[in-house]
């Protein structure tokens, strides 16, 4: 594990509670994330991990608690504000724009940076043209980084699953996020693909300094690449610390392996 220059707290989750109808998805969760670190969220299925990410970037609105990002405290984040503030995200079930090519998917990730008006676009005037080229250059860096040059113009629906996951990552990267939320980025991948994805995640953290929060089930990956880990179970936090600390936490062991009687 490389030495990282871990900074101040940039995300502070305080007492978040979330319920759907009668179901309590999250109960009074608190943890923080420091800049430049890789923070893993783990826990059995249904523990509320995805819901937690959804609260952080505004897809779900928690009933209680607040989230502070880069010093700004909000009890109710909305998705647009999250994107503007620099929170990027990938999805467990991909959520790619199936009707578009790889490059178009990545270019939509640049949408917040593209400001030319309707008329300029309609007539493809100077500013619009220059903007397209400029953003295209940026996106090409990401394409190089993720090694998907050969698939630029392919409709994403036609790509194999592993590559689609890479495009999802690329789209999130295109927004130049300070905080990247990865929801099971390695789900459904074989050994090789997982290694590739690990490498990408670490490179992103190294080269761009992006803070990473990831949900992951593969324990070896978690232990390997994360600085700190949060453990959730049935919507409550049962562990929080370095991978070694968490690994020897009896609560965590009980949640994953059950109790021995």
């Amino acid at each position: 594990m490389s030495e990282r220059d871990i900074g101040e707290v940039i995300l502070d989750v305080r007492n978040i509670s979330l319920s759907f109808g009668g179901v309590k998805a999250l109960q009074n969760i608190s943890f923080d994330v420091r800049e430049h670190e890789v923070r893993a969220i783990i826990g059995p299925n249904g523990a509320g991990k995805s819901s937690m990410l959804n609260c952080i970037n505004g897809v779900y609105h928690p009933q209680g608690g607040e989230i502070a990002f880069l010093g700004e405290v909000r009890s109710d984040m909305n998705t647009h504000h999250a994107a503007e503030s620099g929170i990027g995200r990938t999805f467990q079930n991909l959520a790619l724009f199936k009707g578009m090519s790889v490059i178009d998917n990545l270019m939509t990730g640049r949408n917040l940076k593209m400001k030319t008006g309707l008329l300029a676009q309609a007539f493809h005037l100077g500013p619009a043209r220059a903007e397209e080229v400029r953003e295209r250059k940026f996106v090409e860096h990401i394409i190089d980084f993720l090694e998907i040059q050969a698939y630029r113009k392919t409709p994403v629906g036609r790509l194999p699953y592993g590559l689609q996951k890479r495009v999802d990552l690329g789209r999130a990267l295109a927004g130049e996020p300070r905080l990247l939320l990865l929801d099971e980025p390695m789900a459904g991948m074989n050994m090789e693909e997982k290694q590739d994805m690990c490498r990408f995640v670490l490179d992103i953290n190294d080269e761009f300094g992006t803070t990473i929060v990831l949900i992951e089930h593969d324990m070896s990956v978690v232990m390997d690449i994360s600085d700190r880990v949060v453990v959730l179970d049935y919507g409550s936090k049962i562990g929080d610390g370095t991978p070694d600390e968490v690994r020897s936490n009896p609560e965590v062991i009980k949640a994953y392996l059950g109790e021995s009687h």
């Binding site: 759907f20 109808g21 959804n54 897809v59 779900y60």
Partner: protein, 345 residues
């Protein structure tokens, strides 16, 4: 979330109630008011008949059958023409006997139509999103329209149920001159009520009915206990076809069988939105509200507006149902009796 919505719902309800009662306070004769009200209710019953077909299909298969109106037209055409032709073909006396046999044959035809639609249109599209299905059933509408007119002819035909077209006047002692009621509308109401009771019995008491309700609740669960989905859908569409036949018979007797009946399909959409897509009582209540609302607004709201804004005639009935549906969609999209949808990411 619910608290936010209650305000607008209450406001809409208040406006509708005010509109309903306003004519009583602005000087129209109570007898006339009741006439219009009853006329609206009975028109509403006829709308409900068409909407019933929608709800049945939607409940069982989640498909929005835009073709229901075309099915009504097709069925009515079949009934009218068969009743005309049978005496010539097999010597059965014209009038009720021919009509009865024609009804049976038309019912058989509608079942066949239902089977074909299920096979050709529904089964291939089962995984697509509702809008694609809507457009497919639109295609079915056009096809049935052209096909129906090719086979059965494109003039206006009469269905003679033997009900006199003379109006009756009831309660002449209570209200001056009595209240005008059309006998046909009365018969239509009776038939519709009978149909609803029949359907209710079918769904509650028979094994097939139970299977249909299971499918409506949860396709996969129903399949897992061995209910044959495709057969169920054919049955549902056949029942809807039968309902279409009854609706066609009633409307055709009243208006004559003509193309405008297909336009009923569009009108039934607001009915189902008001009532809720999955509710049979909703289809009835929705139809009644639309029927009454249309008549009332045309008769009582129309003339003042014409005078106020110097309009060239009324015609509020053309859009009343849709605008009302739109308002409902804004405050209560699941309708009065429908189920709420919760979207999870």
């Amino acid at each position: 979330m619910a608290a936010k919505k209650n305000g607008p719902i209450a406001a809409l309800g208040a406006v509708l109630a005010a509109g309903l009662l306003a004519p009583l306070f602005t000087g129209s004769a109570p007898g006339f008011y009741i006439e219009v009200l009853l006329g609206g209710l009975m028109a509403g019953v006829l709308y409900s008949l068409v909407a019933l077909g929608f709800v049945l299909i939607f409940k069982a298969s989640g498909v929005f059958n835009f073709a229901q109106g075309a099915m009504v037209l097709f069925a009515a055409l079949a009934l009218a023409r068969l009743a005309e032709w049978l005496p010539g073909w097999i010597g059965i006396p014209a009038g009720y006997p021919a009509l009865a046999l024609a009804f049976v044959l038309a019912a058989g035809i509608m079942v066949a139509v239902a089977w074909v639609i299920e096979r050709v249109v529904l089964r291939p599209l089962v995984a697509q999103d509702p809008v694609a299905l809507l457009m497919a059933t639109l295609g079915v509408t056009f096809f049935l329209d052209g096909f129906g007119q090719t086979i059965w002819g494109s003039n206006i035909y009469a269905i003679n149920l033997g009900i006199s077209k003379d109006p009756t006047f009831i309660l002449p002692s209570v209200f001056q001159g009595g209240i005008l009621i059309s006998k046909e509308d009365l018969v239509a109401t009776v038939i519709a009520t009978a149909l609803v009771i029949l359907l209710a019995l079918f769904f509650q008491k028979t094994a097939t009915g139970r299977a249909l309700r299971a499918v409506a609740d949860d396709h996969q669960a129903a399949q897992s206990i061995g209910i044959p989905l495709n057969r169920i859908w054919v049955i549902v569409w056949s029942v809807a076809g039968f309902v279409a036949l009854v609706a066609g018979m009633v409307w055709g007797s009243k208006l004559g069988v003509q193309f405008s009946i297909a336009q009923l399909a569009l009108k039934a959409l607001p009915v189902v939105i008001l009532g809720g897509f999955t509710s049979i009582p909703g289809a009835i209540v929705g139809g009644l509200i639309i029927g009454v609302g249309e008549k009332m607004s045309e008769v009582f709201l129309g003339p003042p507006l014409v005078k106020l804004w110097d309009l060239a005639g009324g015609g509020i009935e053309n859009w009343f149902a849709y605008v009302l549906a739109l308002l409902f969609l804004m405050v209560r999209p699941e309708g009065l009796f429908g189920e709420k949808h919760i979207d999870r990411v």
